[in-house]
Every structure is written in structure tokens, then in C-alpha cells.
Amino acid sequence: MGGRIVNTRINGDARTLLIDDRESLLDVLRDQAALTGTKEGCNNGNCGACSVILDGRLVNACLVMAAEVEGAEVTTVEGLERGPQELHPLQQAFLEEAALQCGICTPGFLVAAKALLDEHPDPSEHEVRFWLAGNLCRCTGYDKIIRAVLSAAETMRGA
């Protein structure tokens, strides 16, 4: 199989990646770009652990071929922080609400929730649940995750 060069922007940084045509965006994020915060849970788009934002759209990185991100902007969990020593309100809310246990699904939930709040700053519980239905968590039963997202939304509206 052939390789190719892909120019993309990941979390604000311009990156030139040499990829194998068979690789998914998830593969190159984890292996070439050394961004292992994006997790593989199923590799077929059913768990959301690899959620990233691609040109403003929430996607599963396992379902995007790496070659497709030429010229695109990708945001991963590593790109959520507001600045040096400043967490995103969602990250802060997940800590304070104990919205993670093992933490493997957490990056995906955070990215998906950011995509939600970017579009809908004042979601209802039902909207949060609907938006996050593509992300599986096996530890929490979702209760504290939903509360954390609602809490972060409130914080962000007040900011």
C-alpha cells in the first residue's frame, strides 16, 4: 500500500504527517501525532471513545480515513484546554462532579460535549442525553456525566 503526505492542523498546530493509505484518523492521531488521548474502544463507530471535532463537526476518528484530513482542522481532547494552566469548563466540571471513574471514555465525552455546547449553549437534560447517545460509558451510569455537562454549560453561560 502506498503512503502519502497529509497537511493538517491539529489543535491549532500545523502538522505534516506521512501516512499509510490504510490508516484511519484515529491511527495517525495516536501513532504519528503521539496524541493518545483519543481512545480506541471499538474501531467501528459505536462507542465514541475516539470522538474528535473535524472542521466543526463531531466525528468518530476511527471512521475517518487519515487521507481525508488534508487541509482540515482537527480538535482532540488535548486541544480542549483554554490555555496554559487553564482547563476547559467541561474538564473542570468533570473533575468536580466526579463524572469519570476509569476515565477511558472521558476524552470522547468531553469532545462530544464541547461540540454540543459550541452549538447549543443552554441544552436541556434531554438534549444532553440525545447528543451524547453515541458515547458509551460503562462505569458511571451516565448520571454524573450529564450533571457535569449541564454544570459546565451554566458556568460557560455565566462567563
Binding site: 488521548g37 483519543t38 466526579a98 477511558i104 472521558t106 468531553l110
Partner: protein, 764 residues
């Protein structure tokens, strides 16, 4: 009043941010598949496509010849078992079977069983190479259900000499070899006399489907077999020491040559206690001379790791007209998968335990079938056993026109009651939990609307103890580095640091909580059995007391007095004669110049009280609505009530309970392994194996009851497991309340509900 320890302690009972939290919300935490070593090769496993087949030959020469392939291994690369017997979670088994589970030697006993493995420069080359390995099979008839396995003419999975040396294993049935690996029996009182006293006897049969723990992180392993014979393994495991001992057994090398470094772990629920990929990565690394990393795909996780198997039970309970339960008989048959080890004892010990029933007889069967070997799953076996019992008790309550919680309160086991396994309860919160149901807003509320119903059920789990170690090293700035061997699967770094801070009367923020590898900490049991906050918490407590004694001694030497005149007081101040005193911080700062730094150490094994170390009871209340058009059951409201002893970090305690309840909801409503006649799992993906999503469950309300465990300095009981026990019966009882139908086979999927509602109609 609901018993509570709120406000009793300074740190215990508060809700600080967990020490590993920032790394886990920023993506920096390193899980098993995030480990990066130089020159790492990627491993992949060739698995049996057949549920039951003899392996005639394996030819890997073409795979080895492919550019980029560095090594191939088969069962022949493992050392000989020499007829040895090894301990497992469910009793001793021949090492031969443990080796065969990891890589089949002569026979494949389930689809997905490893047959060969290889490593290559990248995963694509590895996958290409797998297709070049030629395996010749002779396919045998597969045994796909426990009922088939028990048939007199069933194919026998495990015969021959391996089992003969272990008493009670695969004893012949009617003189013939059988697939029943073990039979257990428990009795209390006189069962015949008990039923003779009963005015009402109800006997029913129940089934549950196989269900997976469903951790989001697949199994993984990274191994490097160094040129000096030292093996290092990085893996997502619930117990690094358990991995070390299992590797030692199957690789035939001493534990001193194995270092297991536990990474962060993406869920386990019992499923990450057994080794799967670790020995394969190790042997590949030995052959290739380079580190080897492996991870399962999700399909491999479903087909080749261990779920809880399907179960069948028959429950017969007798009651007097006034509601007194007088006799109970259970017959439990649990599928083990291809090798013995079904958690039937968990069902047998736990199912009746919330109730004081004087006459009991329980039989349990561990049945092998051509499916992956089961693994522990949260309170192993207990949920499936309790399902039948709490369903029949609900029927008895209705038949006698007694409120279901009042019937349970009337028959509640209490302190000193005898358990099914013959042990006597110590201090338990069973009745407190039942009374909390009666007092709860949920139970007192009216439920209105068509096809809506409410159910309740109880759950019990004995919880684990076992060995743990803790080291507490004082730093010269007055903080402490607290090291344990307990993998942090859901906030244990926090709960351990909190207990240490409480004992030392220092701020939580001054305790840095760390998890060490097998060469850096004393032996510590698994993060499992709801034991970590309890048992490693006990080790942390004793490490703190050890440190206090050393600090007293140091202060005495500084003050030139005897140790006996110095005390570490419970406000964290070291006091000596004539009003002399040091705060912890002041004394820590003096340590470097007065003899050196100090380290508190402890290695502890908790004592069992009343047959278990921290028994826990739970009651769940659920309201459902059944859509009689589609068969879908919606969970409208859910309340989980549990005696947690003392909640160290209430948020993580609630989280355990909420997560356990939702796993139970999944078993009750949507999760099941589906097999075709050839033993192929037909729904081996997260698309078709339906775990609850955000839209399938409501908020899970939690009521913590705190009846302190006398076996722990802060009263901790195990928390994590019991919440998966009540949901099955609670939901089934609620469905009956809603539409008058008893769902005695779970999951109560839409199809299953429609089968009951429309029994004679063609649903195509």
C-alpha cells in the same frame, strides 16, 4: 431515620478532586495501549473460527516469510504443563487448560480461541500475515447451551486425564463422562419439614443470557523480554501481582524475573483479572528480541474474553399465610464456557442471604459449553441467582396481599442470622436498607399511567478482603507520597489518600497518591471484589499508624526524652513533655537534619467477621413503562439504596452504585450474547450488543445508608459489586406490575416482551 456518618470525620466523607483527575480529563493519562516503547512490534492473534474442532496441523512458514514479520508462536512455544495444578479464582484447575485457554494445543473449544500469534512491523503487516497461516481443523459438533451440554448424548468437551487428579471435578454422571465440571450443595435446617409448614409454595424457572462486562478499553499488553531474561509487562489489569503470578505459571519462569507495570485501566468489572494477551506478547518478544504490543479488537473482546455465562435456575419458596418464609430450594446451573469456573457459588451463597429462611437447600452446577471461558463480572453469579429469588418473593407478596417491602422487612436477615453458606452475619445494614426503601420519596410516591409499574428487589454481596501493602514516605516539605499496589479503576487514589489524611490529620492535598509496579511495592491483591477502599484502605491506615510511631520516636530523640512521653495526637500534633510540640509539617521539615526521612509501612490482611469482611446489602426501586406496541421497556425512575458502611468519597461511592445499577439494567433489558447453531456469536459489536446509552436510562438516585463495618477503622464496606444484583428482579417485578406479565427469561428485550404479549402471532 437513615443512618449516616456525615460530619463525623475531617476528610472522610468529603468530595475532593481525585489526584489522577487532571491527567484523565486532558488525555494525558497512559492506558495500556498508550504505552510507547522504542522499536515496538505489533502483535496479532489467529483465532479458531470453529466453536469445537481438533487442530490437525499449523503451518506458519508463509507468514514468517512475509517481509516485516518477526516471529510466530503456537501452543508449542509454551513450556510443558508437567501435569501441574494451578489455583484459579474458582478453584484449582490443571495448568494444561490454562495454557490451552491462552493458546489451543490440540483442540479448539470455542470460536475465538487463540491458535497462533505473530508480531510484525505494523498492524497491517500483522493482519496480512495472519491470513498466511494455514491451520487444518477437523470440525466437531458444538455444545452451545447448558441444556445441550447436560444431555446424555452430548459431545464431551474435556475428557482424559487432566481432571482426574482434582477431587470433585467432572465426576461421571450415571457412569458416563459429563460436561458438569463441579456440583456444589448447601443446606440449612430441614427442607422437607420447612415446606410441610408452608401454606403457599411457589416454584418457578428462570434464565439469563450471557452478558459482557463491556469495559470500553479492549484488553492489551506490551511486553519486553530483555537479553538478561528479565520480562517487563505493561498492561491494563485489575491486579499487577495477579498477572505476575499467572505469567509465572504459564511461562514457567519465577516471579522474580517478571515485572508487571500496571497502566491506567479502562474499566474491568472483573474481566481484567485473567491474563489473555500478556503471555503471547511475552513469548513473541522473546522470539523477536524487541518489545511487542498487542490489543484486542472489540470483536475479539466479545468472542475471546470472558463474559458472565448464561444461567438457568429453579426457585421454590414456601411461606406461611402471615408472610413468614419457611423454606427455600434453589437449583442453579451456570455456563462456564469452555473450561470450568462458572460463578455458581456466588449465586448460591448470595441469592437468599437478605432473608432469614430457616430451611434451605441449594444446588449449583458448573457446566462447560463451547463458548469462551467466563470471567468474573461484578458480584459474580449473584445477580443471576437473586433474579429468581426476588421474583418469587414478589409473587409471594402479591399472592398473600402483603406490600413487597413489608414482606421483606418481616423476613429480613439481621445481625446473627445464619447465611446459606452456614456463616453467621456480623453487623449488617440489611434491615436499615429495607426500611430506607419504605421511607424513600420514591417508594412513597404514587405511580400513575397506563402500562406503568414499580418493582423492588434486594441484593447481597459478601465483598473481598485479602492482602494489601502501603508505603507512606514523608517529604521534607511536609507532604507524603503514598504508594500502594492497588490499580485505580475508579477513584481509589482519592479514597486511599483520604483515609491516610484522616488518620494523620493532615490535609488531603498534602498526600500524593501513587500506584506502583510489582517490584516497587509489597504484594497487593487485585482491584476487585469491592476490596480496594476497604482492604488497601486498612493497609494505608496501618502505614499511617506506623509512621506516627516513628515520628513520635524521632520527636523523642529531638527532645531527648523517651518515646513513651511523646504522642502523635489526633489533631496531627506531636506532643512531648513540658508543652513541647511539633505540627506534622514542622517535624517533617526537621527530619533531614535529625537522622533522615521516614517511611510508614504496612502489609495487612483484614479479618473476616461473620463469614465475610464487609458484607453489603442493597435495595433498588424502579418504575418502568412498557410500550405494548413495540415491546420496549422504558426506565422512568430509579433509586438505589445501599449500606456502604462509611462513604469515604461519597461521589465515587454514588458513582459505583449508579454504574452497577445501569449494568444491571443492561442485563435486564437489552444485553445478550446471541449464538448461531455453530457457536458463532452473531452480535459481536457494540452496535448489536446493546449496552445502555445516555438515552436508555434516567438519573439514578442514590440513598447511602451508613452502618459502619466493625472490621474497618472508618467502617468501610465494599461498595462496587452489590449494585448489579437487584436490578434484574426489580425490573422484572416492575414489568409485571405494569402489564401483568412475569419475565422469567432476561433480557426483557422488545422481542421477548412481544413474544409474551402476542404469543400466538407471527411477528415477522
Amino acid at each position: 431515620m437513615i443512618k449516616s456518618n456525615a460530619g463525623r470525620y475531617r476528610v472522610v466523607g468529603t468530595r475532593p478532586v481525585r489526584p489522577d483527575g487532571v491527567d484523565k480529563v486532558t488525555g494525558r493519562a497512559i492506558y495500556g495501549s498508550d504505552v510507547r516503547q522504542q522499536q515496538t512490534l505489533h502483535g496479532a492473534v489467529l483465532r479458531s473460527p470453529h466453536a469445537h474442532a481438533t487442530i490437525k496441523s499449523i503451518d506458519a512458514s508463509k507468514a514468517l516469510a512475509l517481509d516485516g514479520v518477526h516471529a510466530v508462536i503456537t501452543a508449542a512455544d509454551f513450556p510443558d504443563d508437567e501435569g501441574r495444578i494451578v489455583p484459579t479464582l474458582r478453584g484449582p484447575l490443571p495448568l494444561r487448560w490454562q495454557l490451552d485457554r491462552l493458546m489451543a494445543s490440540s483442540k479448539a473449544l470455542y470460536r475465538g480461541q487463540p491458535v497462533a500469534a505473530l508480531c510484525a512491523t505494523d498492524r497491517h503487516v500483522a493482519e496480512e500475515a495472519l491470513a498466511l497461516i494455514a491451520v487444518e481443523y477437523e470440525v466437531l459438533p458444538a455444545v452451545i447451551s447448558g441444556i445441550d451440554a447436560e444431555a446424555p448424548d452430548a459431545p464431551i468437551l474435556l475428557d482424559g486425564g487432566a481432571a482426574d487428579s482434582i477431587r470433585g471435578l467432572f465426576e461421571p454422571v450415571d457412569g458416563r463422562p459429563s460436561n458438569i465440571a463441579r456440583r456444589i450443595e448447601m443446606s440449612l435446617g430441614d427442607i422437607a419439614a420447612g415446606f410441610a409448614e408452608a401454606d403457599l409454595v411457589i416454584e418457578r424457572e428462570f434464565e439469563t443470557a450471557a452478558a459482557h462486562q463491556g469495559y470500553i478499553e479492549p484488553h492489551n499488553a506490551t511486553a519486553f523480554w530483555n537479553h538478561d531474561g528479565q520480562l517487563t509487562v505493561w498492561t491494563s489489569t485489575q491486579g499487577a501481582f495477579g498477572v505476575r503470578s499467572q505469567l509465572s505459571e504459564v511461562l514457567g519462569i519465577p516471579v522474580s524475573r517478571i515485572r508487571v507495570i500496571p497502566t491506567e485501566i479502562g474499566g474491568g468489572f472483573g474481566g481484567k483479572l485473567s491474563i489473555y494477551l500478556e503471555p503471547l506478547a511475552a513469548l513473541l518478544s522473546r522470539s523477536a528480541g524487541r518489545p511487542v504490543q498487542m490489543a484486542m479488537s472489540r470483536t475479539e473482546v466479545f468472542e475471546a474474553s470472558g463474559p458472565v455465562g448464561a444461567t438457568r435456575s429453579r426457585v421454590k419458596i414456601g411461606a406461611k399465610r402471615d408472610g413468614t418464609l419457611v423454606a427455600a430450594e434453589l437449583h442453579l446451573a451456570y455456563e462456564a464456557g469452555a473450561y470450568p469456573g462458572a460463578p455458581v457459588a456466588g449465586g448460591a451463597r448470595c441469592a437468599l442471604t437478605p432473608y432469614a429462611i430457616p430451611n434451605q437447600h441449594i444446588e449449583g452446577y458448573d457446566v462447560v459449553v463451547n463458548k469462551p471461558k467466563v470471567a468474573a463480572y461484578r458480584a459474580p453469579g449473584a445477580a443471576q441467582g437473586a433474579f429468581g429469588v426476588d421474583s418469587v418473593i414478589d409473587e409471594i407478596a402479591r399472592a398473600l396481599e402483603i406490600d413487597p417491602i413489608e414482606l421483606r422487612i418481616q423476613n429480613a436477615a439481621g445481625d446473627g442470622s445464619q447465611r446459606s453458606d452456614g456463616a453467621t452475619h456480623g453487623v449488617i445494614g440489611n434491615l436499615d436498607v429495607m426500611q430506607a426503601v419504605r421511607e424513600s420519596d420514591h417508594y412513597r410516591s404514587e405511580l400513575e399511567g397506563e402500562h406503568r409499574g414499580r418493582g423492588i428487589a434486594m441484593g447481597f454481596w459478601q465483598n473481598g478482603g485479602g492482602e494489601s501493602s502501603a508505603y507512606a514516605t514523608v517529604n521534607p516539605d511536609g507532604t507524603v507520597s503514598l504508594t500502594t499496589g492497588s490499580v485505580d479503576i475508579g477513584g481509589q487514589r482519592a479514597s486511599l489518600a483520604m483515609q491516610f489524611a484522616e488518620t494523620m490529620a493532615i490535609p488531603y492535598e498534602d498526600v500524593k497518591s501513587l500506584v506502583a509496579d510489582t517490584d516497587s511495592i509489597g504484594f497487593t491483591g487485585n482491584t476487585g471484589g469491592s476490596r480496594t477502599t476497604f482492604a488497601t484502605g486498612l493497609a494505608v491506615y496501618h502505614a499511617a499508624l506506623d509512621l506516627q510511631r516513628q515520628l513520635e520516636s524521632r520527636a523523642a530523640s529531638i527532645w531527648e526524652t523517651d518515646d513513651e512521653w511523646v504522642s502523635y495526637d489526633d489533631d496531627g500534633v506531636v506532643r512531648g513533655p513540658n508543652g513541647k510540640h511539633f505540627s506534622f509539617k514542622e517535624l517533617a521539615q526537621r527530619l533531614p537534619s535529625t537522622g533522615g526521612m521516614l517511611q510508614g509501612r504496612a502489609n495487612t490482611v483484614p479479618n473476616a467477621v461473620g463469614g465475610s469482611v464487609g458484607p453489603a446489602f442493597a435495595a433498588h426501586i424502579v418504575d418502568v413503562e412498557v410500550d405494548t406496541e413495540t415491546g420496549k421497556v422504558e426506565v422512568l425512575r430509579y433509586t438505589a439504596i445501599q449500606d456502604v458502611g462509611t462513604a469515604i468519597h461519597p461521589s465515587y461511592v454514588e458513582g459505583q452504585i449508579q454504574g452497577g445499577a445501569v449494568q444491571g439494567i443492561g442485563i435486564a433489558l437489552s444485553e445478550e450474547f446471541l449464538y448461531d447453531a455453530d457457536g458463532r456469536m452473531t452480535n459481536a459489536s457494540f452496535l448489536d450488543y446493546r449496552m445502555p446509552t445516555t438515552v436508555d436510562v434516567p438519573m439514578i438516585d442514590v440513598m447511602l445508608v451508613e452502618v459502619p463495618n466493625p472490621g474497618h477503622p472508618y467502617g468501610v464496606r465494599g461498595v462496587g459489586e452489590v449494585p448489579i444484583v437487584p436490578p434484574l428482579a426489580a425490573i422484572s417485578n416492575a414489568i409485571h406490575d405494569a402489564i401483568g406479565i412475569r419475565m422469567r427469561r432476561l433480557p426483557a428485550s422488545p422481542t421477548a416482551i412481544l413474544d409474551e404479549l402476542l404469543p400466538d402471532e407471527d411477528q415477522d
